[in-house]
Amino acid sequence: MSGPILETRGVTKAFGGLVAVDNVDVGIEAGRVTAVIGPNGAGKTTLFNLITGVYPVSSGEIRFDGVPLDNMPTHKRAALGIARTFQNVLLFGNMTVLENVMSGQHPRSRYGFLEAALRLPKSRREEETITLNAIKYLNLVGLGLYAQRDALSLPLGQQKLLAIARALATEPKLLLLDEPGAGLNRLEKQELGDLIRRIREMGITTVLVEHDMDLVMGIAEWVIVLDSGRKIAEGTASQVQRDKRVIAAYLGEEVE
């Protein structure tokens, strides 16, 4: 084990009276595939939003790679190496498939308004690298053939893969996938599982929120269970499956 790449300590997020994430401590081990599961409203997506800085935490601390994130804005966290996908995909609908992935290279390129306006050599050099890298990530998720299509003309399954390619193009250390399997058929889910394994082999730490237990059991080396904003269990998939509180959370039993 190489230690946690991401640590939360006592992280809490309250929206008015509703405590969506309640005093959560997690450590995400580097290089591992971790799943965050829990019933609807357990605070899984909120946790992602706290890690990526969409909302500030109400209290507690998040450290990434040893750096406290505090009030760092989302785009800076992306530059540090935290990438994500969204439950509702959120592709750039006004771009082609390739351009979507090229946008992902934003934090790994430098040139700005002036170089672009005058097409200075720097801009052309960087643009070449950006394009080549984008094609590489597009091929990785198997969408190379569709590079010039409009992003939203793809079926949902491929849109979700494209969103992963866009996130990978930011060259992250930590990849957060929010329900990557939702809406996919069985075959697409298998392919997704294979893709996540390949991403793991690239040395990228992956955390996924997922409802499909088969997918979770197949790829996750560590499972964290949230319920009503609290962490109620964590362990390997089989440990978690036998945990009484987990069963209760899902089936709604009272535990004495």
């Binding site: 990526t52 989302t74 992306a78 750039f92 771009m95 934003h106 308004f113 672009a116 010039q148």
Partner: protein, 327 residues
């Protein structure tokens, strides 16, 4: 493949446009057309800025007249009252207007959608009032007269024929720079902001900063256009820099195609010719006609006149080819 076809199309269009632009003043340089074309060039510069802001970045502005007016008044005041060299005045005007846009950009872009529209509308109205009321600087309602022409060495741009080339040199430079920006990392970032702000942030794009930067760029374009206006007419008063102009720029951008740099010329030309040749008869009611055009284009040609015509032509060609194949 597709982009190569598109590329060929745009080069052809640009070549045709350049040819047209060079021929037309020679044929009619004593007539009124040169003057109209000068205005089309000036308006195109303002429109392109709004296209970048609205069409690419998805941020509305109903106050572009403010920056256009600032450019014109800075040039007028600096050259007339303070004896600046007109070129230097133009540069100072652009920098000052850009700086002003930067300063108000961060608070104004905390707003979105309708609220942003209202704030920029307010900006336009405030500036229009200031142009009229700050008598000691702007000359009030009567304005400033006797603004010198621009000149290079001994060559003075003192005829419409000469100024036509001057204005279109600036206009084409602005169009070229805009096209380069659109097809770059920056252009993708702008479109990403339009597509989804959350997703743009998640791939490391500083959304607030890009909004402000493109706002500043549009202000600089408008300021340059305003300076050219001042040195063309040699006289400024508050009336061309009011709310109506801001609306006209929006109509021009929409007619030309919001997400199209070169379409801005078509938008500016269409609206300008309409307003000079036809809408004069409507008097004060012309605002209603602009509104009507805006609605009709948005409903029937959401991607603008240029794209609509191109698509109509391609449909026509396709049906002809099919007929040819059947025969």
């Amino acid at each position: 493949m597709l982009s190569r076809v598109r590329g060929k199309w745009s080069y052809l269009a640009i070549a045709a446009l350049l040819l047209f632009l060079i021929i037309i003043p020679f044929k009619w340089f004593l007539g009124q057309y040169t003057v109209i074309l000068i205005f089309i060039g000036i308006h195109t510069m303002v429109t392109v800025g709004l296209c970048l802001l609205m069409g690419y970045t998805g941020q509305i502005s109903l106050g572009q007249a403010a920056f256009y007016g600032l450019g014109a008044y800075f040039s007028a005041v600096l050259t007339k009252t303070h004896g600046f060299n007109p070129w230097l005045a133009m540069l100072v005007a652009a920098l000052a207007t850009g700086g002003f846009a930067y300063a108000i950009g961060f608070p104004i872009f905390r707003l979105r959608g309708n609220y942003l529209a209202l704030a920029t509308l307010g900006l336009g109205i405030i500036m229009a009032v200031l142009f009229r009321e700050l008598d000691q600087f702007t000359g009030g309602p009567t304005g400033i007269t006797g603004i010198p022409y621009l000149s290079i060495g001994g060559f003075t741009f003192d005829s419409p024929f000469r100024r036509y080339f001057l204005v279109w040199f600036f206009c084409l430079a602005v169009l070229l720079v805009s096209q380069n920006i659109v097809r770059s990392r920056t252009g993708r970032a702008l479109r990403a902001v339009h597509g989804s702000e959350s997703a743009a942030e998640s791939v490391g794009i500083n959304v607030a900063q890009f909004k402000v930067k493109v706002f500043v760029l549009s202000a600089v374009y408008a300021s340059l256009a305003g300076s050219l206006y001042a040195h063309h007419i040699t006289y400024v008063n508050p009336s061309p820099f009011g709310f109506l102009f801001s609306v006209m720029v929006v109509v021009m951008a929409v007619v030309g195609g919001l997400a199209s740099v070169w379409g801005a010329i078509f938008g500016a030309a269409t609206v300008r010719i309409l307003s000079d040749e036809i809408l004069l008869r409507f008097g004060e009611w012309d605002v209603i006609v602009y509104g009507l055009i805006l609605v009709l284009v948005m409903v029937f040609m959401p991607r603008g006149l240029f794209v609509a015509l191109k698509e109509a032509y391609e449909r026509w060609r396709l049906t002809h080819r099919q007929r040819g194949a059947e025969a």
